[in-house]
Amino acid sequence: MTQQDTVRREVSVDLDVCEASGVCARMVREVFRLDDDDVLTIAHQPDTDELDRRVAVAVRRCPKQALSLH
């Protein structure tokens, strides 16, 4: 598969489950941000293979399993 054929997956957060630990934000600062009210936002959808890879690790690492890729 070439680079262009790859369909990138989007990451989303279930805010009812997230406890704002910031584990994801520490791992991929470009993508996950905790705002001043401790609400997790997706600042930027992954758009490179490198970010895809790091986001996938963060999704697996979230202690609450609040993140998903689809």
Partner: protein
């Protein structure tokens, strides 16, 4: 030059595979235990270990990925039947359960944790910056350049205790007593502490009793401390029973103390053994704060393991395990796994990413205090080296005899 610098970091083990017993507290006093863990992990990533005294035992998981899998699979590997693999029936070491989130499974644990976790988010912890730093400065300011101090008791143990007591609103006069109780709950495998298991249990109960009383005071007279919040928790419209409030108090005091102290102490040892890393940190103490704290916490692996209990029979990696058997995941092993960490026996404060498992393998019980602990560690070393740039360990550390905590009883440091 210190004594420490001349010692091998990871001497080859002289133990045969079958001699490696993680249940034996003396195993953890051996200088070659890391290499023994590596040997065991390579040959038997899942293995059975037994206590000499009771003959009871547990499954040990040493592999990084297995630890993630076990920690997340709370349905099979439950916390609600206890998390202390080294305390076992028949040895007089059974402790009354705490009945709080660390010994619960979801969804009950989720509901309980929710009330406490809001006190530990990155934003809340950033707000603690001021008093974490004030306390750190206060503690290091008691000493003068050139002083030889007992680092563990004089510095490392004090910061986490003051901070958790500040958060919980504990009267300063009561703090030394609470610190003593907290030491006793964990020091019961070390003959030096003269704490037998019964005394350890008694200390746990006393901590909880203190919490029960404090909760009563806070309900009547709420402050803006975390414990006032916890005391007001209602589940299904009912307040938490007072024993449970006592349990929360004991959990927060115990969970945040010995662990963070151990991290700080091993940080001091590591900076003495790797003077280049100390110089690097001193060259940019703010820029390197996060990665340095992370590496110190990986290096220290303050809790060697956490325990779970099997809720049904399973087969894992070809090993058959039965309902009711205990299992433990060993962070001491996974945090030095060369498949995950380049050159794992090198203390490297720029390591990034640094996905160590000192705070757990992820999953529902992931350390609630992680953000606070990191901050305590970096603030302490910033303030220590600002005042004492030449601080260095001048004698070998004296390790705690414990299956659970990678503790240090004594470390002489010249400031």
């Amino acid at each position: 030059m210190t004594i420490l610098e001349d010692q091998p970091i990871n001497p080859p083990t002289t133990l045969d595979l079958d001699e490696i017993n993680l249940a034996d507290p003396d195993f953890w006093l051996r200088p070659d235990y890391h290499d023994a863990l590596a040997k065991l992990r390579a040959a038997r990533p899942v293995s059975w270990h037994e206590h000499h005294d009771s003959g009871k035992g547990f499954w040990a998981f040493l592999d990084y990925e297995d630890i993630i899998a076990v920690t997340r699979d709370w349905e099979a590997f439950s916390s609600k039947h206890g998390i202390r693999v080294h305390h076992d029936a028949g040895t007089g070491q059974v402790r009354p359960g705490t009945n709080i989130m660390i010994e619960m499974d979801p969804p009950e644990q989720t509901a309980n944790r929710k009330h406490v976790s809001t006190g530990f988010t990155p934003r809340q912890v950033r707000k603690m910056e001021t008093y974490v730093r004030e306390q750190a400065i206060r503690i290091v300011s008691e000493f003068e350049r050139g002083d030889e101090i007992e680092f563990v008791g004089d510095i490392a143990a004090r910061l986490p205790m003051e901070i958790i007591c500040d958060i919980m609103g504990v009267d300063p006069a009561d703090r030394p007593h609470l610190l003593d109780l907290s030491n006793r709950t964990l020091g019961d495998q070390d003959p030096d502490y003269g704490v037998d298991p019964l005394e350890g249990t008694k200390a746990t109960l006393e901590l909880r009793e203190y919490g029960v009383q404090l909760a009563a005071e806070r309900l009547e007279n709420p402050g803006d401390d975390l414990f006032s919040e916890i005391a007001r928790i209602e589940v299904d419209g009912k307040p938490l029973p007072k024993e449970q409030l006592g349990g929360y108090f004991a959990l927060l005091i115990a969970a945040g103390n010995e662990t963070t102290r151990t991290a700080i102490t091993h940080g001091m040892i590591a900076f003495s053994r790797f003077p280049d890393q100390k110089a690097l940190f001193q060259s940019d103490p703010v820029g390197l704060e996060q990665s340095a704290a992370e590496e110190i916490i990986r290096w220290a692996s303050p809790l060697r393991h956490m325990g779970r209990v099997l809720t049904h029979d399973i087969e894992y990696r070809g090993v058959r395990m039965r309902t009711g058997e205990k299992a433990a995941v060993w962070y001491s092993a996974s945090n030095r796994d060369p498949a995950v960490f380049d050159d794992p026996f090198r203390f490297d404060i720029t390591r990034d990413p640094n996905l160590h498992q000192s705070f757990g393998g992820g999953g529902p019980h992931f350390c609630l205090g992680a953000n606070l602990a990191r901050r305590e560690v970096w603030v302490l070393f910033q303030e220590l080296f600002a005042r004492f740039p030449d601080a260095v360990a001048v004698a070998d550390p004296v390790p705690l005899r414990s299956v659970q905590v990678n503790g240090v009883k004594s470390l002489k440091v010249r400031l």
